[in-house]
Amino acid sequence: MTATIEPLAEEAALKVFDASLVPDDPPAEIWYRHKPNLLKSVRELFRRGEIIYTLAERDIKAQYKQAVLGISWALLLPLVNLVVLTILVGHTKGFSIGGGVPTVLSMYVGLLVWGFFGGAIGGGASSLVGNKMLMAKSHFPRECFPMAQILESAFTSLMAVAPLFVLFGITGFGPKLTSLWSPLYLAIEIPFSLGFVLFVSAIIVQARDLQQVIPVVLPLAMIVTVLKPLTQVSHHVLHPVFILGWQRIAYCIVNPMAPIMTVSRDSILIGIGPQWGLLGWALLGSLVYLVFGYKVFKRLEVNFADLT
C-alpha cells in the first residue's frame, strides 16, 4: 500500500453503506496469497523466542505437578522400554554390537537417542491442536508450540541419562572418553526431530484423527530403529567415508536416526570417535527434513486458525 493516510477528523462523520453495491467476490488483485518467507519467519521467531521457554516450562511444570511419581516419571518410560526390548529379544544372540558391550547397555543408549526424537513427536504432534485456546489469543509464531515440545523432550532425555550410570554400575562396564562427542550427535538429531515435528503437527491440524496413529506407529518405529542398527553396525563401523556405497548414503539421508544411533553407540560404548562420513550425510538429511518440515508448516499455517 502506497497511499498516504490522512488524519481523521476529530469525529468522523456517519457513513451508511448499501450492501447491494458490494460485489459478490473481491476484485482479483486483492486476494490474499500466502507466500511464507522462511528467513523472515526465522527472524520473527528469534524476536519472540522467549515464548518457547515459557511454553516448555508450563508443560513441564503442569505435567510433573500432575504425576504421582513427579519428575521420576521422566525416567520411567525409557526403563519400561528397556524391559520390553529385553523381553522381546534379550535371549537371542546377534543383537550385540561387539566389543564385549552388554546388550542391555547398547539398547539403553539406543533408547536415549530414540527417546529425544520419540518424545518430541509424541508431544509435538498434537501441540497445535491442543493449544488452540492460546492460538486464539494472539499472533505469534505458531512454530513455538512444536519447538517447545523439542525443548521439553531435551529436558526429559537429560533426566533419562541418570539410569544409564546405574546400568554402567550394574554391568561393571564403563563409558568411553569419546562419550564427550555425544552433544554433537544430539545437535544433528535436533534439526531432524524439529523438521519432523513441524511437518506432523501441521498435517494433524488438517486431519485431526491422524493423532491416533502416532501412539501406534511410534513404539513400532522405536523397536525397529533401536534394534536394527544393532545388527548392521559391524558391517560399516570402520569404513572410511569414500567406501560408503550410494545405498548407504541414501539411507543416511532418508533416515538420519540410523547413523546418529550408530555413532552414538560407537562413541559411548566402544570408544570410536566421530565418523565424519556418516555424520556428514546424517546432517545433510537432517537439514533436508528441517527445511521441508518448516516449509510445509508455514505453507499450511494460513488455515490453522480456521481449522482448530
Binding site: M1, T2, T4, I5, P7, L8, E11, A12, A13, L14, K15, V16, F17, A19, V22, P23, P26, P27, I30, W31, Y32, H34, R48, E50, I51, T54, L55, R58, K61, A62, K65, Q66, M133, L134, M135, A136, K137, S138, H139, F140, V205, Q206, A207, R208, D209, L210, V302, A305, D306, L307, T308
Partner: protein, 396 residues
C-alpha cells in the same frame, strides 16, 4: 507504506470466507474433499465479511455491533491476526491484547501467577515487564493469595477477573474485548469499564464487541454496524447505534400478527392535540383492538429504544368487550429525551385458571420524541436507558 503509530488499526478492503460444507478436519473428510476436487467439483464458500474498511487511530474506542452471525467476531480475529483475511489487507500496529472468550488462554493446570507470565509472554512482553505490573494485576483481579493456586480451582468469576486484569494491565496498544463484560457481577463490570476508560486515556485503542448497546454508548466514540457480512454503517457511536436500534425495530414490526382470537388493528402515538411528541409533555397512545369474545385481561404497554427491554411499562387490567374497541392511554409527562422509540405491547389473560398470553410482547408502533438530548454519564459509566428528568440546580 508509511509507518503507522502503535495502536493504529487499518483495514483495507478486507474480505473473509469460510468453507460452506460442514466437513471436519478429519482424514476421511479430507480424502472425500480431495476426491471431489479431482472430479472437478468446486468447493463451496460462504463470505462472512465483505469489503470492510476501517481506519482507527491510537486511543480511539471503536465498537462493532450487529446481530449474531454478522461477522463481528471474525473481524476481531482478523484484527488480532490470529486468522488471515481471504482478500484485502489488515494492519494492526503494536501489541494486541484480546479478551475474546472467557477463560480462553487461561491454563487450568497452572497457577494464576504462571498464567500471568505465559499470557504476558504471548502478548510480547518480557518477564521483567510482566513482573513490574504483576502486583497491579493481582490487586485488580481480587484473587489475593489464590494467585499461587491452580486456576482450575478458581470460581468462574475469579478466572474471568484474572483474564480481564491480565489483558488490561499488560498495556497493549490495541485491546480487543468481545462480550466478556456480560459475565461477572455488576460491581466488577463497573470496575472493568473504569479500567477500560483509563487504558484508553493512556492511548490504547479499544475494539469492543457487544450486544449491550448502553455499554457501547458509554464506552465507545465510534462504531461499526455489521449486518449479513456487510458494513451497514460506520461513524459516531451514538448515531450508528440509533440506526441499528431502528432496524431491529423495523424487522420486528413485520411479524406483529396474532392468531389467538384477539388482534391489534391499529396503534398510534401522538403528542398534545395530535401534534409532535415532546419530552416532558403529554403523550397519547391509541390502540384499536378486535376480540372474538369478551375477556378479562391485562394490557401492557412498554416504551423501548428498539430492544425488547423497555425503559418503562404501564399496564391496564379490565374486562374487554367483544368485537372492536378502542383503548386510549394518556401519559401526563413523557420521561424520555430526544430520540427514536418504539411502543411494545402484550396482552395477558387468564384462560381456564391459567394466565395465557393473548398476544405476545412485540413492537407495534414507533415515534420520534423531540426535546433535550440525553445526558451522557462520566466517561466509562453506562446509562442503561435514557430518561428525561427535569432538575433544578442551585449553587450558593
Amino acid at each position: 507504506m508509511p509507518t503507522l503509530p502503535n495502536g493504529t488499526v487499518l483495514a483495507d478492503h478486507v474480505w473473509k470466507r469460510f468453507r460452506a460444507d460442514r466437513s471436519r478436519a478429519l482424514f476421511q473428510d479430507q480424502m472425500i474433499r480431495m476426491g471431489r476436487r479431482l472430479k472437478g467439483q468446486r468447493r463451496e464458500y460462504r463470505w462472512v465479511l465483505k469489503d470492510v474498511n476501517l481506519h482507527v487511530e491510537p486511543g480511539r474506542t471503536h465498537a462493532i455491533i450487529g446481530v449474531n452471525g454478522s461477522g463481528k467476531s471474525t473481524l476481531l480475529k482478523i484484527i488480532c491476526q490470529t486468522t488471515y483475511p481471504t482478500a484485502g489487507r489488515m494492519a494492526a500496529v503494536g501489541r494486541i491484547g484480546a479478551l475474546l472468550e472467557v477463560r480462553s488462554g487461561i491454563h487450568p493446570d497452572l497457577s494464576g501467577r504462571q498464567n500471568v507470565y505465559l499470557y504476558g509472554n504471548i502478548l510480547g512482553l518480557s518477564r521483567a515487564d510482566i513482573a513490574a505490573r504483576f502486583d497491579d494485576i493481582v490487586e485488580f483481579a481480587e484473587v489475593g493469595d489464590a494467585i499461587d493456586r491452580q486456576v482450575k480451582f478458581y470460581s468462574t468469576g475469579m478466572a474471568i477477573r484474572l483474564g480481564f486484569s491480565i489483558a488490561a494491565f499488560l498495556e497493549p496498544d490495541i485491546l480487543l474485548v468481545d462480550e466478556v463484560l456480560a459475565v461477572g457481577d455488576a460491581r466488577f463490570q463497573q470496575k472493568c469499564l473504569e479500567r477500560i476508560s483509563q487504558v484508553v486515556a493512556n492511548g490504547t485503542t479499544l475494539f469492543y464487541v457487544s450486544h449491550d448497546l448502553p455499554t457501547v454508548e458509554a464506552v465507545c466514540d465510534q462504531a461499526m454496524w455489521l449486518a449479513d457480512s456487510n458494513v451497514r454503517a460506520d461513524g459516531p457511536a451514538r448515531e450508528v447505534v440509533a440506526l441499528y436500534r431502528q432496524s431491529v425495530e423495523e424487522q420486528a414490526q413485520l411479524t406483529s400478527a396474532s392468531d389467538t382470537g384477539i388482534r391489534l388493528l391499529k396503534a398510534e402515538v401522538t403528542g398534545p392535540d395530535g401534534g409532535q411528541v415532546r419530552s416532558g409533555e403529554e403523550v397519547n397512545l391509541r390502540f384499536v383492538v378486535e376480540s372474538e369474545e369478551p375477556m378479562f385481561g391485562a394490557f401492557h404497554i412498554g416504551i423501548s429504544q428498539g430492544t425488547a427491554q423497555p425503559v418503562f411499562v404501564v399496564r391496564y387490567a379490565t374486562s374487554f368487550p367483544e368485537g372492536q374497541f378502542e383503548l386510549k392511554c394518556r401519559l401526563q409527562s413523557l420521561p424520555l429525551p430526544k430520540g427514536y422509540y418504539s411502543v411494545w405491547t402484550a396482552m395477558k389473560a387468564p384462560v381456564a385458571s391459567e394466565i395465557k398470553t393473548s398476544f405476545p410482547w412485540q413492537p407495534v408502533a414507533s415515534f420520534e420524541a423531540f426535546g433535550p438530548i440525553a445526558i451522557k454519564g462520566p466517561s466509562g459509566v453506562m446509562v442503561l436507558s435514557p430518561v428525561f428528568v427535569p432538575a433544578d440546580w442551585e449553587l450558593s
